[in-house]
């Protein structure tokens, strides 16, 4: 590792103008509902305020958990940190190699064989040719697909697809690891193995940012928690303290019931 990893978010806001919907009827809706979340920007477009005035500073060793109800802005914040959504207001500074586990099937193609998918992922990540055999070996070993590795993913069972997706996503070791909640799905036997691999990756990363509705996982892996609500930071501090407040504030958290 060359330099120390760093994430610095200053006064960051992200607005989504609603481009492809019918904004005229939406405008009516806004007037009627007068919800704080929809608003208009200078050009009189209807916008969703996904994130408002976020400030975060993370250095090597930090493990941040993101909590909040559905639509609080957790995934959006991870996308901003990954450099996918560029700030609409404020600034973002990220130093260090980064791997964002946002979509379990990123770039995976059902018509390709497992092996071809592995090579394609290597290309997506801009790995040099020399790194590809190692990647292939690692993913093949973990996903345990044996002969299926040379068959199209189209004919895999659902569990096999999950295993391949997971093995691919976790095959590349970053300094900064961003994880959305999807990786917590899967069957029990695989979960145990997956958890071990994830923990190893989490331990290896300098900075972890994890979004989850499973508070126990957040408590276990994170030292600091950011509580988002309606795109705003409601609390930011030591994991136990914020989580206690968070669970206390919403006794029947709908999302917890879903998980």
């Amino acid at each position: 590792m060359t330099s120390r990893a760093l994430i610095e978010v200053k006064n960051l806001s992200v607005l989504f103008p609603l481009y492809h919907g019918s904004s005229r009827s939406l405008k009516k809706m806004v007037v009627a509902a007068a919800s704080g979340r929809l608003a208009q920007d200078q050009q009189q477009r209807v916008v969703v305020r996904a994130l408002t005035d976020i400030n975060v500073h993370l250095e090597s060793g930090d493990r941040l958990g993101l909590v909040g109800s559905n639509g609080a802005g957790k995934t959006t914040l991870l996308r901003v940190l990954a450099g996918i959504y560029e700030p609409v207001l404020g600034s973002l500074r990220v130093r260090g190699s980064l791997n964002a586990l946002l979509d379990p099937n990123l770039g995976m193609n059902m018509e390709l064989t497992g092996r071809e998918n592995i090579l394609l992922r290597g290309l997506y990540n801009g790995l040099p040719r020399s790194a590809l055999p190692r990647l292939e070996e690692d993913v093949a070993e973990f996903a345990e697909l044996s002969d299926f590795l040379d068959l199209p993913v189209r004919i895999y069972s659902a569990g096999m697809v999950v295993r391949l997706g997971f093995a691919l996503a976790t095959a590349i070791k970053p300094q900064i690891l961003l994880m959305d909640e999807w990786f917590l799905a899967g069957d029990a036997v695989f979960m145990e193995k997956a958890r071990m691999r994830l923990e190893e990756m989490v331990r290896g990363a300098d900075i972890l940012v994890l979004s989850s509705h499973q508070n126990e996982i957040v408590r276990q892996w994170c030292s600091r928690v950011l509580w988002l609500d309606q795109g705003k930071v409601l609390a930011d501090g030591p994991a136990d303290e914020v989580l206690n407040r968070y669970t206390g504030s919403i006794p029947h958290h709908p999302a917890d019931a879903l998980v």
Partner: protein, 285 residues
Amino acid sequence: MSSAVTTIAPPKELHLRADMTIATRNRWAMADLADGMHLWRLAWALGWLDIRLRYRGSMLGPFWLTISTGVMVAALGVLYSTLFKIELKEYLPFLALSQVLWGFLAALVSEACGVFTDAEGVIRSVRMPFFVFSMRGLIRNAIVLGHNIVVIVVVFAIFRMWPHPGSLMALPGLLLWAIDALALTLLLGGFCARFRDIQPIVNSIMQIAFFMTPVIWKPNQLSASGIANLAFNPFYDLLEIVRGPILGSDIAVTTWIGACVYSVALCAISWAFFVRARGRIAFWV
């Protein structure tokens, strides 16, 4: 532990602000191009993948296109050579070449609209240079062109037209096409992601351009004033700089100048757009 993760992600540094100056935005756009070119192997793999998926399960694969182009050229050739009263020997090689080249241009322009929206899933889950998707569009269409070249070769062989050194002058033209194609995919790809009703408009423009441009008819069938008006058709100049040298006909200097002027204009517009729009494309797709 056997699941040791050893592949390390390449290091990165990112500093983005909402209020970036045009100079900074310009630097980011240049970085997008440079990083994209660095990922040329990905663009190549994706381009081939598109072709494979389009023809999956079919025995002849992309050669179906060669066959359909061949049949179309043969049918149109016989029909129009009688309509236009041109000898088949003179007309068919012209038509085969024009039809294949135009097919490439038309498909490229039409598919340029979807280069970013088609890659929505990837764009939303990883930061990736947009130029990769532009290159992918170009590569995909170049592969189709490569298959269709068979039609040209067969027709030229039938009429005993052998390659001559002057044909090599088509290469600078093809290079200009590649540059224009990349500029156009960046421009239309972004623009169509933002405004979804552009695609049908582009398709109708290409339809009209097909009839207005000497693709199936020859420029010398026009009156003098008609030929003069061709100078205002960018497709004519661009088509002619590749078609002319292969057919062995002289191309006027003005044709080359026209092609260059139109290309520079396209690149300038495309760049001005991309510099401003790059950071917003992820919101649009």
